[in-house]
Amino acid sequence: MFKYITKRLYQMILVLFVVSIIVFFVMSFTGDPVLMMVTPDATQAQIDRARTELGLDKPLITQYFIFVKNILRGDFGKSYVFKQSAIKLIIERMPATLELVFVSVLLSIIVAIPLGVFAGAFPNKRSSKTIMLGSLLGISLPNFWVGMMLIFVFAVHFRVMPSSGRGEVVNFLGMRISIFTADGFKHIILPAVMLSIQSLAILLRLTRAGMMEVMKQDYIKFARSKGVLQNSLLFQHALKNALIPVITVFGIQIGKIIAFATVTETIFSWPGMGKLLIDSINRSDRPVMVAYLMIVAFIFVLLNFIVDIVYTSIDPRIDLR
């Protein structure tokens, strides 16, 4: 187990290293940040001075090594716009995003698993077919459109839900969290619904497919011949087996939820790091973009690691080596 974890840690570092290369060089080809920063009537001399100040006049390779050196010290540079540490900006906004992602993931799981189990165990029932139709809609409707429809219906037409912001926040473990206040909870519902719909539908379909496969297995029939009750048959004997392939895919789905949070946060003016990213892209605020990408890459890698651990702890046939 220990050996496995150290091996995985090495892999994680390697992946992050590769990501840093890609991020840095791709960033270097996207627009000239200097032009965005200086006033439109700046002279060439002023532009050049800004360029030197930012270190953008050095060769790319040198810039990259400076970049890596700084990252290792936790320094992603200063935001061109806010004149503040980029990483601090991101971390300030991270709780809002993580909260939204957490609620969305939870919502997906709570809704998708029971429905998926039901639809997989009783595929011929009419309700199962309705569930499947619903999930198909969930997958195919464009995300941003769903968000806008939610705002239109619940915030504009019926005026029952707020359409933007986080509402009231409280301090929790040093983070500003909104789900613990009634107002904040109300604010998170619509964005969380929008953000979860697609992954919910995918999780549901995967669970159903897994269940359908598992229900045909001999061990299910054997369990039935032992008189195992319906609930324990479906949610223990069958679901546990059905989830093994689902878990891997769902790990990737959580990553996708984080990525899609940028869109949701923009639509709902949710003050998270996704919205910060979009704002930074609009302003060519390169250090913030880079910091965001590196942080998200780190979260992805960490998620994958956790998924693998969960996966191996469920399936005794996998030997950790």
Partner: protein, 328 residues
């Protein structure tokens, strides 16, 4: 003193498929006494498994028990609800499946899978259940049972898994065990061990056993009586010695002739010609007619009815054989 445990009367289990109705079990009747071992034999597709699953009412869509009675201790299981059946499954009647490699849940330990039966059907506490699991594993001949409790199925060999499955089937001391080809997936030496073990355990506890197999050689050593199924119908039934030494139905005779060990006086091994008929287009008259060496006009027109030839021996054939190989 023989006491009747199970009586199946005119059981019909049909599958309503897209292509048509499959009469997997079509009017099967038999009795099983307490402590008796009854064999169900026949070729693949004869309806043996479906008969077994029908008794536990584990027939899934599109299958349905259409007709008949399954009297277990005098109570008709056909009329029982799913809830009542759950109480019977595992406690009064349990089942052993063909493939030990796939019948155990890969994600649960051996102890969990045997203990589950006790958890559902007895009032034992966790400690008692553990002790009982150890005893059961010991009974079925698994060495160092205590150390094996926490093993997962993939850590067991096929033979050991089947022993664990037998332990689970015996856990709640059922009155009837249905074993569907329990040794077909195992190699020959293990087969013999498992069969001997089953016979011993069943006889010790006076449990009845319904042994489903396509292998008459297996049946010969194990069972007291046997029924021969073909296309969902009983062809012949009687004491195993009579069936083996004096088969009366041409189909039983054909089955016997295709076993090497039982007719060593013959040089060549014969085989039943032809194939099991398509279940959607069963022949008119006798189902066996297209393959039968003794088929006559009447067999093609009229379906034979099962009748008693002598005490305890029943046959469904217009022209039963009198002595081995010869005709009446």
């Amino acid at each position: 003193m023989v006491e009747k445990l199970l009586e199946v009367k005119d059981l019909k289990t049909y599958f309503h498929t897209f292509k048509g109705i499959v009469k997997a079990v079509d009017g099967v009747s038999f009795k099983l006494n307490k402590g008796e071992i009854l064999g169900i034999v026949g070729e693949s597709g004869g309806g043996k498994s479906v008969t077994g699953f029908s008794i536990l009412k584990l027939i899934d869509d599109p299958g349905k028990i259409e007709n008949g009675e399954i009297l277990f201790n005098g109570e008709n299981l056909v009329n029982k609800s799913e809830k009542e059946m759950k109480k019977i499954r595992g406690s009064k009647i349990s089942m052993i499946f063909q493939d030990p490699m796939t019948s155990l849940n890969p994600l649960y330990t051996i102890q969990q899978q045997i203990g589950e039966v006790l958890k559902i059907h007895t009032n034992m506490n966790a400690e008692q259940r553990k002790q009982r699991c150890i005893n059961l594993l010991d009974d079925v001949g698994i060495p160092q049972p205590e150390a094996r409790l926490k093993s997962y199925p993939h850590q067991f060999s096929g033979g050991m898994r089947q022993r664990a499955i037998i332990a689970a089937a015996l856990a709640a001391e059922p009155e009837l065990i249905i074993a569907d080809e329990p040794t077909t997936a195992l190699d020959v030496t293990i087969q013999a061990q498992i069969l001997r073990l089953m016979k011993k355990l069943v006889k010790e506890k006076n449990t009845s056993l319904l042994l489903i197999t396509h292998d008459l050689a297996v049946v010969a050593e194990m069972v007291d009586r046997a029924i021969v199924l073909y296309c969902g119908q009983v062809m012949e039934t009687g004491k195993i010695d009579d069936l083996i030494h004096q088969p009366i139905h041409p189909y039983t005779y054909g089955l016997l002739n295709s076993i090497p060990r039982l007719n060593d006086q013959k040089k060549r091994l014969s085989q039943i010609e032809g194939m099991v008929p398509n279940m959607f287009e069963l022949p008119k008259g006798c189902n066996y007619a297209p393959r039968c060496d003794y088929c006559q006009e009447r067999c093609l027109k009229e379906e034979p009815k099962i009748r008693e030839i002598y005490e305890g021996h029943r046959v469904s054939c217009h022209y039963p054989l009198s002595r081995e190989g010869s005709h009446e």
